[in-house]
Amino acid sequence: MSSNKRSQTSRADIFANIRRGLKHDISESQRQQAVANRLSDKADNLIPARSQLPATEQVELFKVMAIEAAAELIELESIEQVPQACADWLADNQLNELNSASNAELSALDWSPLAQQQITRSERVAQAGDIASLTSSFAGIAETGTLMLHSSAQSPTTLNFLPDNHLVVLHRSAIVGCYEEAWKKLRQTFAAALPRTVNMITGPSRSADIEQTLQMGAHGPKKLIILLIKD
């Protein structure tokens, strides 16, 4: 039997089973209405009080939670300070490469501080063996110190996962309290369809699969450095 046929037969059987099992205490049109309403309302469920703080406190909560999740945090006055901060961090860690996302904000910066430290900079898709990457985040979620990033032509997803070190720019103004606010912001920005990938990242990669002992740096970046821009 072809896979197509299998899938079609399975689909018919599965739906028949479900419909046979369902209670028929409400009409079909009521069920359809309930589903249509839920899908269009996109209503919030319970949002914890923790993530409904005033904006300034949200920034503080974000910082505390991100550090608790083992991210490093570097606070900067303006986006113009990003090249120097990258150069300093890489030099301190004796690293000499940075592969960057190519979005307008990052590309427009003056990257000469890297050259002064003999650090080479590239803008390309990530490869195995990459040492460090730089990307921008779409939002920061205070509730758990989580970054929200998304794929685009200028920001390949591999930049977030293949390099050993991941540096991420986050504007204070992009910090929201809860995930729900970030989803709403995402829907506003991408009305037609979501980007292929949305990554929520909370700290660097880790695993406790060997003897239940937590080790940092499993398959994703070993270090996550958040460059928090005051704006």
Binding site: L46, P156, V198
Partner: protein, 474 residues
């Protein structure tokens, strides 16, 4: 996967005598429950979230057909493909066909219990496609030709030396017993596999009907490399994972990490929506979702429908005294612990899985920690009834129950009998009040002493108390 569930008793017996396993389980029993308790304490609304989680899952199950249709049409709209698999055989054939279409030689895999359920690895291998597990725990197990003993910490039954030996035998590098070195070794070896793979297979924690997205929740980042680097991404998941909106998914994400590892949030929560877009420099060109049924649709409308609320967090097994004593492999199939004791008989049949719902103390801890409040003890009791009605229990159990019922229904016999038995046991036990041996109860006394009754039966004590009370009132 081979079904060893009928041998639960023997496997549990062996597990109790396995020192290494007992060491690992001792660690598990304190580790996960303590972390969960701290995370729950930090979230004052947790109880309310559990109620909402239960209610939302019930709403979804009552409209499951409609949400699945919506999810399907959204995936297609985004340029993806949806495949339906009623049986494990359907699922394996469909996945193999996709692999063949792109002439796949190697397939990297993120952690997925549904692919364990359908026995995908063996099937692909038999058909010339090499699967490579990339979750660290699953990778270790694959090297050892072993299977997960826990749904989120698959290699929990192994110790450091086991991992060290498996890596030494396979990696052609000096032997190390440093967990950090071992993890770096796996990282380097698997990097090459990630890049070379033709297809990446992951599971999904949830499927979002609103957007046609699937989400994976991980800590290592292996799932992300698995689904980003190869040209084809296949999501293998099951029909009950669908949720209406991103907001609804968020409710479950708040419950999942806290219930599972006790984390505030897992490191990587990744939403995938269709294949690579115009201009994208990476990401899969083909996006497939295989929706597996394998008996789930038959649970709708039955007493087992509640089980379909399960979000696979593992809290029930982490808190279960039976799992904590015998480990996951004793259960003999894919899903261990209380959730496995309910699901396994559904998937492999009560004839083979009947031992599991009986392996419970009914202490109720599983239900009390379940993020979606599944009445697990009640569901296990349903299976016991089913088993009894089908005359599937061992003769000893049936006769034992029948003789007890005979006595219990005749108070004139029951009272003197229990009085005599408890007096006998008390006398036998002597001063320390413990019995080292008891006829027909070696299953208990081989492992621990039986505390002897204090000398009086419940009925005697009750009567005395009532008398004393009456005396006081007078």
């Amino acid at each position: 996967m081979q079904i060893n569930t009928p041998f639960f008793k023997q496997r549990a017996h062996d597990a109790l005598a396995d020192e290494n396993l007992q060491k690992a389980l001792a660690k598990l029993k304190t580790g996960f429950p303590e972390k969960r308790a701290i995370a729950v304490d930090r979230m004052p609304e947790f109880e309310q979230l559990r109620d909402e989680g239960r209610d939302l899952k019930n709403h979804i199950l009552e409209h499951l057909d409609l949400y699945l249709e919506q999810f399907e049409s959204k995936v297609i709209e985004n340029g993806g493909h949806v495949h339906w698999a009623r049986t494990t055989d359907d699922a394996n054939q469909i996945i193999l066909d996709i692999c063949k279409q792109v002439d796949a030689k190697t397939v990297t895999k993120g952690k997925s219990m549904v692919t364990e359920e359908i026995g995908l690895n063996d099937f692909l291998e038999q058909n010339g496609v090499q699967p490579i597990e990339t979750d660290l725990g699953e990778y270790i197990l694959q090297l050892r030709h072993d299977h997960p003993s826990h749904i989120i910490a698959p290699a929990i039954h192994l110790n450091l030396e086991d991992v060290s030996e498996a890596f030494h035998a396979n990696h052609n590098r000096p032997k190390s017993s440093d967990p950090a070195v071992l993890m770096q070794e796996a990282r380097e070896v698997l990097r090459e596999k990630f890049v070379a793979a033709d297809v990446g297979i992951t599971g999904a924690n949830f499927c979002v009907a609103e957007t046609g997205s699937t989400i994976i929740v991980t800590n290592e980042g292996n799932g992300d490399l698995t689904q980003t680097l190869p040209k084809t991404h296949i999501v293998v998941t099951s029909i009950e994972k669908v949720v209406p909106t991103l907001e609804d998914m968020t409710l479950f994400l708040r419950l999942l990490a806290r219930s599972a590892t006790g984390q505030e949030f897992s490191v990587y929560n990744t939403l995938s929506t269709g294949p690579r877009r115009e201009g994208d420099q990476d990401g899969p060109e083909n996006f497939h979702v295989v929706l597996v049924d394998n008996g789930r649709s038959e649970m709708i409308g039955t007493e087992f429908q509640d089980m379909l609320r399960c979000i696979r967090c593992s809290a029930c097994m982490n808190h279960c005294p039976v799992y904590g004593a015998v480990g996951g492999h004793s259960y003999g199939w894919v899903y261990p612990g209380p959730m496995g004791s309910v699901l396994t008989p559904q998937m492999i049949g009560i004839e083979k899985g009947g031992m599991l719902p009986n392996a419970s103390t009914f202490c109720g801890k599983c239900e009390s920690v379940c993020p979606v409040k599944i009445p697990l003890p009640k569901l296990m009791r349903h299976w016991r009834e089913d088993e009894f009605e089908k005359h599937l229990q061992p003769k000893a159990a049936r006769y034992g129950l029948a003789s007890w019922a005979f006595l219990a229904k005749r108070p004139a016999l029951y009272k003197p009998y229990t009085r005599m038995a408890s007096w006998l046991m008390k006398t036998w036990a002597g001063k320390n009040g413990r019995l080292k041996k008891l006829p027909l109860a070696s299953g208990w006394t081989d492992w621990r002493d039986m505390p002897a009754p204090q000398g009086k039966t419940f009925m005697q004590t009750w009567k005395e108390q009532q008398k004393a009370k009456a005396g006081e009132q007078r």
